[in-house]
Subunit: 341 residues, 2 copies
């Protein structure tokens, strides 16, 4: 059906190799022949077969995406989805398609592949790891396999990474809350997720810097991106003898659990209790009260991840692994009350 290089060569009276060379810019082809080849390629509608080329060259122009499988949200994940969207767009500009790498793929009745095996099976040129379970042994195996890798949010020794300036963002958020007059500030941090641990540490440090005491029971472990778990955590905080006036949540999406509980208790945000999230999920900024949060630049994160990965693939000798930090922005929103007297 599709036009092959053989069809072209027959049409032109050339050898297949000459046609291939002409198309690929080899210098031992005359300008005239090159022109004829290009003209014929357009005329006959020739398209190279990605898989044939991939077989011979070992390059597929396909990048693998390890995407948070167990988050339960998939493509609807409020933070990863827009990152992925941007990553895909940039990859496409550079001529790469993306393939999702899972740990449940099985080919012809064999048992499930690991991430690494799936990557090899599809011969991806590199892999971008967009998820939050970096302690998974399969992730470790993949990162150390030698395949070009970029991770999002969590740096690995000697590997490329793209992450928000979490520390700066968190600091700005906590300073803002404090500047609004809050003293009784609690934090719910998510697990399992390396990123929320970084934010937790930053929270503690910023409180200390401001000389604000951290009351007993004010740090609650919960789950990232999980409204249900966060709802319980908020309940725990509100039933303390000295409940906080402001609660910092693991992320915006999880704030839905907080909002639900607070409504059930017939309390008002922010008059009775203030909350803050992290991420800057667009849909939540379209509703009232607009949540006070830290905007992550998902567009830049995704784009930089793609660039970093493709650089690495195409110029692996000169590539220097590094972590690219992407600026965040405080969104003051409407969920932190002014407590100054």
């Amino acid at each position: 059906m599709a036009v092959t290089i053989k069809d072209l060569s027959a049409y032109l009276g050339l050898s297949p190799s000459a046609v291939s060379k002409a198309l690929n810019g080899y210098t031992d082809i005359s300008q005239e022949t090159r022109n004829r080849v290009f003209a014929a390629a357009v005329k006959l509608g020739y398209r190279p077969s990605a898989i044939a080329r991939g077989l011979k060259t070992g390059r597929t122009f396909n990048i693998g995406i390890v995407y948070s499988e167990n988050s339960g949200s998939g493509f609807t994940h409020s933070y990863f989805s827009p990152v992925l969207e941007s990553l895909k767009a940039e990859a496409e500009i550079q001529g790469y398609d993306i393939t999702f790498i899972s740990s449940s793929m099985r080919a012809s009745g064999q048992k499930a592949m690991t991430y690494l095996q799936h990557s090899q099976y599809r011969n991806v040129d590199g892999v971008c790891i967009v998820c939050c379970e970096f302690n998974d042994p399969q992730i470790i195996e993949l990162v150390n396999s030698g395949i070009p890798v970029v991770t999002i949010d969590r740096p690995f020794e000697g590997k490329a990474c793209v992450a928000s300036e979490n520390v700066q963002g968190m600091k700005a958020l906590v300073n803002y809350i404090i500047s609004m007059g809050h003293k009784k500030i609690a934090m719910i941090y998510g697990s399992p997720s390396n990123i929320t641990t970084i934010r937790l540490n930053c929270f503690i440090e910023t409180m200390k810097e401001n000389g604000i005491p951290l009351l007993e029971g004010y740090l609650v472990e919960s789950l990232y991106h999980n409204p249900g778990a966060v709802k319980e955590a908020v309940a725990k905080l509100l039933s303390l003898p000295y409940p906080p006036s402001c609660i910092v949540l693991p992320d915006d999406f999880a704030s839905l659990g907080a909002i639900e509980l607070i409504e059930e208790r017939k309390l008002k945000i922010p008059e009775d209790i203030s909350i803050a999230g992290f991420d800057g999920v667009p849909i939540l900024q379209m509703l009232h009260p607009r949540i006070t949060t830290v905007l992550q630049d998902t567009f830049t994160i995704g784009r930089e991840a793609a660039k970093l990965l493709i650089n690495q693939i195409e110029d692996s000798e000169n590539f220097i692994p590094r972590t690219v930090e992407v600026a965040t922005k405080l969104i003051k929103g409407e969920t932190v009350a002014n407590n100054r007297r």
Copy 2:
């Protein structure tokens, strides 16, 4: 690096063809040899190369996804994303990966490929079209190319399709609104989108069946999944001399525009004005007021689409193109006021 069939054959003292046949269940291989081959495959960690197999057999176990590019939402699209998520999950179960087919891909400096060319370039076994611009000439070309195709929401003559029971869903919604005592009901319908036209017709018909007059200016064309455009449309309706008591919107996400405008006008939902959406977007059901809407079963839609496509790929002779209709469910929510006296 990776173990090939040749490595296996050398290890076992067999010909590559024997190994291949053993792995693929040919009957002219003795049971004993077959066992040895499988054992060696496991031991050496053999994984077939998808591209080599694809080159020879013409089957890549890859399905193409044409995904709403111009919606501006990408992976964050409130309706398509969960459909895609489910589709991907089912495809994976059946051993297929997915590849996004775009109309902007360019390989080695050539000009952008059409959807069909991109599909051929990647040798996908079939394509699922998940978008709302079915009049795009490139979509038509793809649908008629002979590649196995499944569409979502919009049937094509002689092709497989999966769609919600839009008519039943819309009817239920309108009947519910009427049962709540509303008489002045307006509709904002989205364009360009075939699906909202179906819903519009159904709205008109259901109104007629109930003997409720459709007042002048009560049908407003706007845009699907576009809060900004819908906001304007609502403004138009509210400035009518006889404004509606209830507005049916193109979809849940677009309702954000309606809510914004209504808040700006210092009106209350549903006391002053009732609204209803379509889709059943989960995040909006977690907030108050929960929007009155029609839940689309995105999980089933995605799964059925994958099944239909893979059936067609794997048994094309016996495949009978058909439209699978998926049931919808009315969510009464909190945005339609009780107007019965």
